[in-house]
């Protein structure tokens, strides 16, 4: 097991290095350099200031040097400064990462709370009205754009319930109730989208497991239906569900970009979109790399969860 983890970690290094090359390369493809484009857009910036900024950012150096310096900055957790706000990127990330982690965790939990019971219900009542309703909800979840759902939820909460989420971000530790009010709707929108694929997977795997011999045996020895489904069938059906949940981490992180923008949450997603809109490329490349590293690490954790869920799986 330890060997497997070490090997996976070692394999992740070239993948992440290649990702960093792609991100770094992308930011340099821009005609001219990032700064010229930036200054052309913002106007009235003197030649001297431009030269100083270019020097500070190390844009005069050869590409390979710039890349190595950036890589070192990333590894030493000091990824430089934002071009626009002049704030250290690490400080900006320090503020925005907890927001995204909270949103993503809540969304994931809400998604599972919706998906697993509905998926099981759909499977145990296959081809009955409850199943059709569950399946239609699942396919809708995959098809409704989260930015549309978010917009509708905000508007109709205001129109019908005369309620809008409190403005101005409050952290979970400072004001838990206010924080929960701010996070509930965005997490529900994101969770609904995530629940769709999990629900479909739960339905099909539970259906498959319910046909297994040991489930028939459980029925035959007179166990209660609830115990057969939840204790015997569900645990084994969960393994492919974990794969789906793992595969959704990318969707989740991408979803936070949109949802944070709509609900004005100062998370990493919004920081990235703003940086992209202002072409603040040191922030863009750092954020994208951070997301890639997180995904690769989480995927490894998901793989290790299989072994915990299914003792038959042994990694070597």
């Amino acid at each position: 097991m330890h060997k497997y983890v070490i090997r996976r970690l070692l394999l992740a290094i070239p993948v992440l290095l290649l990702s960093s090359l792609i991100v770094f390369g992308l930011m340099r493809v821009m005609p001219g350099d990032a700064l010229t484009a930036l200054m052309a857009e913002s106007g009235n910036v003197g030649e001297r200031e431009l030269r100083k900024l270019r020097e500070d950012l190390g844009l005069g150096r050869p590409y390979h040097e710039q890349y190595l310096i950036w890589l070192w900055q990333l590894v030493s957790l000091n990824p430089g400064y934002s071009i626009f706000t002049n704030e250290p990127i690490a400080a900006a990330l320090g503020k925005s990462i907890p927001v995204t982690i909270e949103l993503a965790t809540l969304a994931m939990l809400l998604g599972l709370v919706i998906a697993i019971p509905v998926g099981v219900l759909s499977a145990t009542r296959a081809d009955k009205p409850a199943d059709y309703v569950g399946r239609v909800v699942a396919v809708s979840g995959l098809s409704l754009p989260d930015f549309w759902l978010g917009t509708l939820v905000i508007t109709f909460a205001a129109l019908w319930l005369h309620w809008i989420p409190p403005l101005g971000y409050a952290s979970l530790w400072e004001s838990p109730w206010r924080n929960l009010q701010q996070f509930l709707l965005p997490a529900a929108v994101l969770g609904f989208r995530l629940s769709a694929a999990t629900m479909r997977m739960t339905r099909s795997t539970v259906l498959e497991v319910l046909r297994e011999d040991y489930v028939r045996t459980a029925w035959a020895k007179g166990l209660e239906g609830r115990i057969v489904v939840y204790k015997h069938a569900l645990k084994n059906a969960l393994i492919p569900v974990v794969t789906i949940v793992g595969g959704q981490l990318g969707t989740l992180l991408a979803g936070t970009v949109v949802v944070e923008t709509i609900f004005a949450l100062p998370g990493m997603g919004r920081l990235t979109v703003e940086a992209i809109l202002f072409r603040d490329y040191p922030v863009v490349q750092t954020n994208v790399m951070l997301v890639a590293t997180t995904l690769v690490t989480l995927n490894l954790l998901v793989d290790l969860t299989y072994a915990w869920l299914d003792p038959r799986i042994h990694y070597q």
């Binding site: 290095l17 290649l18 809708s140 995959l142 098809s143 930015f147 549309w148 509708l152 991408a254 809109l277």
Partner: protein, 300 residues
Amino acid sequence: MSTVTARVAPFERQPTATPRRGEALWAVIKRKPLGLASAALLVLLVTTAIFADVLAPYDPLATQPEIRLAPPSRDHPFGTDDIGRDVLSRVVHGSRISLWVGVLAVGIGTGAGMVIGLLCGYCEGRLDLLVQRLMDAIQAIPGLILALAIVSVLKPSTTNAMLAIAIVIIPGNSRIVRGAVLSAKQNRYVEAAQAIGCRHPRIITTHILPNVTAPILIIASIWFGNAILIEATLSFLGLGTQPPTPSWGLMLSSTGRAFMEQAPWLAIFPGLAISLAVLGFNLFGDTLRDAWDPRLRRQG
């Protein structure tokens, strides 16, 4: 040698899968109401896009400030926007952008993914190892974020959004094709073709490619829905189609959100159009899988 080839070739050319696949698909569409619904949605979308000029009651760009933010009525069934443009006409014309982005992004992404997957699966070895790591590296970045980064570099426009989506599609597709090629290579008839000295291009196109088309078409139809969704999201964030071109995502962000409480129809109809189009492709992907995936066919 030539006689063996002559004997083998007509035998293997016979089961060209197209008519059988067509029949299987038609059977599933007839049998499953959701399959029929998805086919109907797609026909509706394609017809709307092709005949947008005829179907749209007004010019999508023509402004009539005197009737700005008018609610749905007989003259304007979907209402008008903040500068008096007819929302129905804009939604109808928006279908062109969505479909166009879908066709080109999925076409380029699937085409490139197929070529890469075929070469990697067929050649294996160092090339495969290197290209697969590159695909891993692209896949490590979530699709939407990669698309956002690409568009920010290329400048926001419909064409660049389409290119960005195509790049996002390539790794997943190449991996599926590679897997299908690796398993197709195990077949005896491929070994036989190699043994009788068929050239590689012929083996790939005649013996391997037919095994790869079904998974590729299934995944392409699902990607089509995703491509529409990503384009709408990019336009919503201001990084896709630019005003005044009518794109569903842009309609939602530019006026839909600003006037949501005053004029909810500005957001409801474009959003509904995106959802129905994506739903159509998702359900159609499921239908294709039901029809063409032998594993599911046996269960059904």
